[in-house]
Symmetry: C2
Subunit: 399 residues, 2 copies
């Protein structure tokens, strides 16, 4: 009995692999500052819970395969407000952005097909692409350049006959990089010129800190056939446990294919979709407050990092992640050391080592991803801990 070659190419999550070490540290009484997982601490708007409570049928029935009408209509209104009018038929409800991504890969990729993705990238892309039999061709970026990648001369040479799509996360996870309007146009032009699908994962849309208006590839002209947008309520409304997302496209042939998968799995959870519909009715001031909070955290994090000698980190413009290059040999080893040997006043920290975010072997070994999902005070203390730890680790390495 054997397992499929595709599942054997997949990996466990690099964000979760230090879990046993963390448990052991906690058992010793060490407090861990968790900067490793993108689980926001912002309260979910109560509208979600209220909508679920108000479900009045005796039978918890299947939802329609393409989505609960209230939820689809709410998504439609949201996009109308940000200047991207959609038809109801352009929207399919999905079980989180994760399922939307799985569906995209399954519809676009055959064995040996390639998808271009800027690296470092969200590690679960790797699972979704491998499961479909495809491969990721990374578009390189570096900490020294602030992880910017949207240049024609960098991307076009990577395209060949088996390239099917380009996947852009904007704002970026893990880098926090936000595309400028000019960069978005470059990407869109490349997709159109080479006949590629452009998959835009825009689940962090609201998390931009420079006063930019909310942006989406959906407002760019001439992309109707190419563009597929992946969306989710998880981060937007701090509702990660709802597992409600959307697959959006004006390419009806694409959605007709995706609909086969929607019908195959019958539907997404009925009550969560009703809750998600209600979330889209929250007052826009919710986003302002959340954005201000994350901006303060981002600033605290970047200030702290800039105080540590040898750390390379350009200020990220969006999402709630950043990547940084550390003056250590191996971030994986350093993380293990942090959990097994380091503590300061009974505290240590966790981040996600960078290597798991790269498709190119050997890259990212001295980089880390930080999710700044803790309050400002804890972020400041975490950066202090990081500075102390690096100094001590370097000394031990020298000894």
């Amino acid at each position: 009995m054997q397992f499929s070659s595709k599942i054997q190419q997949c990996h466990l999550s690099p964000m979760r692999k230090f879990h046993p070490y963390a448990l052991a540290a906690e058992k010793r009484g060490v407090k861990i500052h968790h900067l490793n997982i993108g689980q926001p601490d912002i309260p979910t708007p109560p509208a979600f819970f209220d909508a679920m409570r108000h479900y009045r049928s005796d039978v918890l029935s299947y939802a329609p395969s393409p989505g609960v009408p209230e939820y689809v209509a709410a998504v439609q209104r949201y996009y109308q407000r940000i200047g991207a009018p959609l038809a109801e038929e352009d929207i399919l409800a999905t079980t989180g952005g994760s399922e939307a991504l799985q569906m995209v890969m399954c519809c676009l990729l055959d064995e040996g097909d390639e998808i271009l993705i800027p690296e470092p990238f969200y590690p679960n892309y790797d699972t979704f692409v491998h499961v479909a039999g495809g491969n990721i061709r990374p578009i390189h970026s570096s900490p020294e350049e602030g992880y910017r990648y949207a240049q024609r001369q960098r991307i076009e040479p990577l395209i060949h006959e088996r390239t099917r799509a380009i996947l852009i996360t904007n704002p970026g996870n893990p880098t926090g990089t936000v595309l400028t309007p000019e960069e978005m146009t470059v990407i869109a032009d490349i997709a159109k010129k080479h006949g590629l699908f452009l998959v835009a994962d825009e689940v962090y849309r609201e998390f931009v800190y420079g006063g930019e208006p909310l942006s989406t590839f959906l407002t760019l002209p001439g992309l109707e056939e190419n563009l597929i947008v992946v969306d989710s309520v998880s981060k937007r409304f701090s509702a990660c446990g709802a597992r409600v997302g959307a697959l959006i496209s004006r390419n009806r042939d694409f959605l007709a294919q995706a609909m086969k998968l929607c019908q195959g799995r019958l539907c997404s959870a009925t009550l969560d979709q009703l809750g998600a519909a209600a979330l889209y009715g929250v007052d826009p001031s919710y986003f302002d407050a959340t954005r201000d909070e994350y901006r303060r955290r981002r600033n605290a994090c970047v200030e702290g990092l800039h105080r540590i000698p040898g750390v390379v980190c350009e200020e990220p413009k969006g999402a709630f992640y950043l990547m940084a290059k550390l003056p250590v040999d191996d971030a994986d080893k350093f993380q293990t050391w942090l959990l097994e040997e380091f503590e300061d006043r009974g505290e240590t920290l966790m981040f996600a080592p960078g290597e798991g975010f790269y498709g190119t072997p050997g890259k990212g070994k001295d980089e880390i991803r930080i999710a700044y999902v803790l309050n400002e005070g804890d972020i400041r203390r975490s950066m202090e801990l990081l500075g102390l730890a690096i100094a001590r680790y370097q000394k031990e390495e020298m000894a």
Copy 2:
């Protein structure tokens, strides 16, 4: 721009393709008796809604990837009660039985691999298998034999070097066939002898009408390495919209592979898992009442069918479906005619034409699947309508 060959091999659901005709008929004021979709009308136990209402955190967080501990523990207790003790680690929470099936196919099948499935089978298996790049090798059964298939001499000749697994739905959808203990042993022996995974989809376990004890392949000896059980709360507790299921196996290597997929999609919906955990606490009398209700419906359905000249239908022993062979040329055409041209006192009916449940081209053309999910009175009236319709249809065909 092209779509993957695997998605092009998938189909839309045969249960849902008559939806536009149904809408048109309803617009003309015709009442439709829906026997086409397995959406039970039995109330969901209120414990589900209560558990969701009692969620007390402000933040709707991700659940752990392998499942909410309360839910996993509830599944474990349930299997303990039916004589199949499991470790917590043998259970992964999934987004319905659907996701569990997708995970299984992805872990077991590579391009060109085969899985044996008795036909007629649940059409979505076809989607899950194709998406993984595999193919279904049907094990034949027929209406005249009551759709029984579990014979060594029928199955073994179908096995060859690319056969990876055998998938059994027990009790069966669409046939309602229930395996005898002897038949289960035959299947288990074949799986062991040929080194195949045995995937047991047992989501209809409670729906057996002959006084049989609840059965599961998990109680058979020596299947630890081979057996994968797919389960769900959808039918058991009439909670289809919850999308909570489970992937169960004592083969830890298999679950380690599946865990990669669990982590890839992060988690199943948090509140629905809490609701599902509460469902497992309902009083066993719930099942007795439900079983009695479905037994009455099954009896009403079979009695009605046996009154119609030319219909072939052995009494099914479980689930809430049955397949029947009708004295018509083409059930697809007949269904269209029922929606477009037939009515009796303003009423007509819908079933699922049989062809979509077969992997062998041309089979099932004169068969239908009935989901007896309506109350007894409506079932009796539906069978009366079916009899009238067949007589009128045959007359029109002759004319």
